[in-house]
């Protein structure tokens, strides 16, 4: 099975790992794989697939309520699951390093960078002298691309940028020279440019020190240039395991294909395909193949026989009764050209010389136009002012100056001072669907409040309209009587969109509405927005993901540090970016398609 790999350098061997929640509810089962020194392996799956559980299990850690109940994990010959007490403490960090998802919360706000590195080394090498410690810290900081001077070591985490914070996390892992390093979505919270640099550093470190790495992510495009192999996980089991080339060119499992088809790509505009249905929750695994209910290739035996992970082609393994054989076709062609907006004609929203300030000024002389029925994407990295701009347009901004015109009339800056007749026409959808819905109200209550407020509609008529709007966002009418906590992230975001739609808006401002969601769910939300746009809705879409821009936007406006650096049609801006900043953004955006671009 591992014939193609050099068995003698194997660093990690996991066999038959099983993790359960209380009451023997299975989270993870039958997981077996290995990693060799210097190898970087991607672990991919939707949220809830058990990928983070697997990642932390390698350090013999399970989140509260979960328990590792079976299997064997060997790292460099040590059986990690059998370690206890002091031996376990030394193995954590010393043998297996861990880099958490969000460096902003994973670094202690009360400890300086130098203190963190120092105590980490001392915890594992209590006998080390000052000079040894100092030398190792300096070496590691240079390794991860951070300054090594005293001033930097005296900084607190909040005084670092997001990229620097994640480099500190890398340094904390690498300073101990572990044999294996586990990274849990380490770049999800970072901008594309920073992400590209961090990934590059990681690759250099693993290769240079011969450290094996397991990189957990939900986005295959991110790891495409990083990994040697990919493990695909679904409902707590590995469903496919393949070398990078094989996986991206000739994925065999229908789930892997569906994941790939759901990723919006900067290089091509293609209809994104969401994966229908949900992954089964822990404990609700169906008989047979867990993916069968969502699988387009399902046969009757799939519902009965559970496929095992079997050799497909060399080291390529797949757990499917009817795996795909043919390569996927990723077309590089831009399929549809967006209709250019007729200049000057039906301009719905016009922004001229907009300035916004909080403690400091965040927007400088921003001007833009949004045509009736088009989708304008506001693109920029964090801190570029894109959310401030969106909020100012929606009437939620403070300290705004400049000129806003809506449908030919001047528009007030504060939503309170806008005409009630106009107010319902501009609606806002928030980034995080987990916080945007009132947890004490059912979906019906949430959705009927704006009806009563704007249109005075109550009772049966309100119920009828709520059901109609739920249908419009492809939710079942049963959802009306549920509370937000019993909905998934994608469903919540649909409810949030429905809350905007029920106000009969003409302009919908969407603030990063897919960034908290899985790629497959994102695809379905983007498809929904496309459909709504087809029905005449105008969209202002704030995002940092150029792939999403390609999938949905007609025109793009690039913001950098509060100023517009470039705007134009999507093809123009993403195809032939004129501004150097846009060019870096485009170059660093992960893509599934080779070359072609800078």
């Amino acid at each position: 099975m591992t014939a193609a790999l050099r068995v003698d350098t194997e660093v990690l061997r996991v066999s038959d790992l099983r993790v359960e929640l209380a009451g023997q509810v299975e989270v993870l089962a039958e997981v077996s794989f290995g990693l060799t020194a210097g190898e970087i392996v991607g672990l991919v799956g939707e949220s809830g697939s058990g990928k983070t559980t697997l990642a932390t299990a390698l350090l013999r850690h399970a989140r509260q309520g979960a328990r590792i109940v079976g299997g064997r994990i060997e790292v460099a010959g040590q059986a990690v699951l059998e370690l206890e007490g002091e031996a376990l403490r030394l193995a954590r960090g010393g043998l297996v390093g861990y880099v958490a998802q969000d460096p902003a919360t994973a670094l202690n706000p009360a400890l300086r960078v130098g203190a963190l590195l120092h105590e980490t080394l001392l915890a594992h090498q209590p006998g080390a002298t000052r000079d040894e410690l100092r030398q190792r810290i300096v070496e590691t900081l240079l390794d991860v691309g951070l300054p090594d001077d005293k001033a930097f070591l005296r900084r607190f985490p909040h005084q670092l940028s997001g990229g620097q914070q994640q480099r500190v996390m890398l340094a904390l892992a690498f300073v101990l020279r572990p044999r294996l390093i586990v990274l849990d979505e380490p770049t999800t919270a970072l901008d594309v440019t920073t992400q590209a640099h961090v990934l590059e550093t990681l690759k250099r470190l693993c290769r240079g020190h011969g450290v094996a790495a397991l990189y957990v992510t939900h986005d295959l495009a991110v790891v495409r240039d990083l990994v040697d192999r990919v493990l695909v996980m679904y409902a707590g089991r590995l469903v496919e395991m393949a070398g990078r080339e094989a996986l991206f060119v000739r994925p065999a499992h229908p789930y892997t294909r569906a994941l790939l088809a759901a990723i919006p790509d900067i290089a091509r505009r293609q209809p994104l395909q969401a994966i229908a249905g949900h992954a089964p929750a822990p404990g609700q695994r169906p008989v047979g193949c867990a993916f069968a209910p969502r699988c387009p290739r399902r046969r009757s035996e799939c519902l009965v026989v559970e496929p095992a992970l079997l050799a497909h082609d060399g080291i390529h393994q797949v757990a499917c009764l009817v795996p795909h054989q043919e390569p996927v076709t990723l077309t590089d062609t831009v399929s549809e050209a967006a209709a250019p907006v007729p200049e000057g004609e039906a301009v719905l929203l016009e922004v001229r010389d907009l300035d916004v300030a909080y403690d400091r000024q965040v927007l400088f002389d921003v001007s833009l136009q949004v045509g009736q029925g088009e989708c304008l994407a506001l693109v920029g990295e964090s801190g570029s002012g894109k959310t401030s701009l969106a909020r100012a347009i929606a009437g939620l901004g403070e300290n705004v100056q400049g000129h806003l015109r809506y449908a030919g009339e001047p528009l007030a800056f504060s939503a309170r001072r806008r005409d009630a007749r106009l107010r319902h026409q501009i609606q806002y959808v928030f980034q995080n669907p987990y916080r945007a819905l009132n947890p004490r109200q059912t979906v019906l209550q949430t959705l009927s409040a704006p009806l009563a407020h704007f249109f005075g509609v109550r009772g049966n008529e309100a119920r009828r309209r709520v059901e109609a709007v739920l249908e419009r966002v492809s939710l079942s009418t049963r959802v009306a009587h549920l509370y937000p906590h019993s909905l998934s992230g994608g469903e919540r975001q649909r409810v949030a969109i429905a809350r905007a739609l029920i106000c009969e808006p003409r302009l919908l401002v969407c603030d990063e509405i897919t960034s908290a969601l899985d790629v497959s769910v994102q695809a379905s939300i983007l498809a929904l927005l496309r459909r709504l746009q087809g029905q005449g809705l105008t969209l202002l879409f704030v995002t940092h993901d150029l792939g999403v821009v390609r999938a949905i936007a007609d025109r793009v406006l690039v913001l950098r540090q509060g100023r517009v650096v470039e705007q134009g049609t999507t093809e123009q801006v993403l195809g032939q970016p004129a501004d150097p900043y846009t060019r870096t953004l485009v170059a660093h955006s992960p893509s599934l398609i080779d070359a072609g671009q800078t």
């Binding site: 030394l90 994973a106 300030a357 801190g383």
Partner: protein
């Protein structure tokens, strides 16, 4: 004043904030002096009549009015009073004909000694108990500990105090004096045994609140990502608790301590009465009973100023213990500030300005 170390030639970043905050503290103090003055002296009811009672002859009232300066215009009265107060002269007590300041500062010293005792007892105890309960969350010790604390909380504090007196000072087991009448001829530190029972009584009523606060913020900090990350880096558990978790859990506890102090400064009355301890609470009580106007003004002023000071110190400690606040620099002014900035009443912050982390 010593020279600042050469390493940091600049003033610490929080200093500007602190000076501003101090300014607001002084402003509050001034407003308080105004309120105290108006409430006691400037309201339509005649203090002289209040002091002398309804049956006093008109001549005595007029004499007293002259003595108190009540025949002057109200503004003159206030400025005179404020000027004297600033010089530390709070007037002469009508009851004992001794300067109010002398009386007051003796009493204040006693109250401060009591508070210091309570702090020295409660803060370490609350930290140790809170941390240990948090580490044994939902285990039997935690449940029993919490229930006991709630029992103390639910018991009225005078009952606790009387209970203590019964326990320790009954005939036959007179370990500690039942009453704490201090000998004014001796310095306080020679009669510390009189402080023990009042301190324990007040401490027991303050302990449950603080312990529960420390426990809750410890639990929150123990579940944070940075603690999990530290565990997965192989940091020893002791260090995780005391170095990684506790400093982050302290901030809410500081505000808790401040709240306890604020209630104690003016509200130690019950314990003072039960133990006959000569603190500020009993002094105020006595002054009100005999309508000793300058004394009432002085005590109320001191209590309110103490509350302002406690708040200021609590905020200062919070800022000093939170690196993010301590190191925050005032952000640079905006290119254009002719309008569109926050109005002044919204610019007031309880902490230094932070960089906006906005998209």
């Amino acid at each position: 004043m010593h020279e600042p170390p050469l390493r940091s030639p600049r003033a610490p970043a929080w200093l500007a904030w602190f000076i501003g905050r101090l300014g607001y503290g002084l402003l509050t103090a001034w407003v308080i002096s105004l309120v105290v003055f108006i409430a006691t002296q400037a309201l339509p009811s005649d203090p002289a009549r209040v002091i002398l009672g309804p049956d006093a002859p008109i001549e005595s009232i007029l004499t007293l009015q002259r003595q108190l300066g009540l025949d002057q215009p109200i503004l003159v009265q206030y400025l005179r009073w404020l000027g004297a107060a600033l010089r530390g002269d709070l007037g002469i007590s009508l009851d004992s004909q001794v300067p109010v300041a002398d009386l007051l500062f003796g009493r204040l010293g006693h109250t401060l000694a009591l508070l210091a005792g309570v702090l020295a007892l409660v803060v370490p105890l609350a930290l140790v108990l809170g941390v240990n309960l948090a580490l044994r969350r939902d285990r039997p010790l935690d449940r029993w500990g919490l229930s006991t604390l709630i029992l103390f909380k639910a018991t009225p504090s005078f009952l606790l105090a009387i209970g203590l007196v019964l326990l320790f000072s009954m005939p036959g087991m007179g370990w500690l004096p039942a009453v704490s009448i201090l000998d004014p001829q001796q310095p306080l530190w020679r009669q510390l045994h009189y402080l023990v029972l009042p301190v324990i009584a007040l401490g027991l009523s303050a302990l449950p609140y603080l312990t529960r606060m420390v426990r809750a913020s410890m639990i929150e900090a123990l579940e944070s990502d940075y603690v999990i990350a530290a565990r997965l880096r192989g940091i020893p558990e002791r260090r995780i608790v005391w170095r990684h978790t506790l400093p982050n859990a302290l901030t809410p506890a500081i505000q808790g301590v401040a709240l306890t102090l604020r209630t104690l400064v003016g509200g130690a009355l019950l314990a003072e009465v039960i133990f006959s301890y000569p603190g500020i609470g009993t002094a105020l009580n006595a002054a009100i009973q005999v309508r000793d106007l300058p004394m009432i003004q002085g005590i109320v002023l001191v209590i309110t100023l103490a509350v302002v000071l406690i708040n200021l110190l609590a905020d200062l400690f919070t800022v000093l213990l939170t690196p993010k606040l301590r190191t925050a620099r005032r952000v640079k002014m905006i290119r254009r500030n002719r309008r569109g900035l926050r109005p002044w009443w919204r610019r007031v912050r309880s902490a230094p300005a932070q960089e906006a982390t906005h998209d």
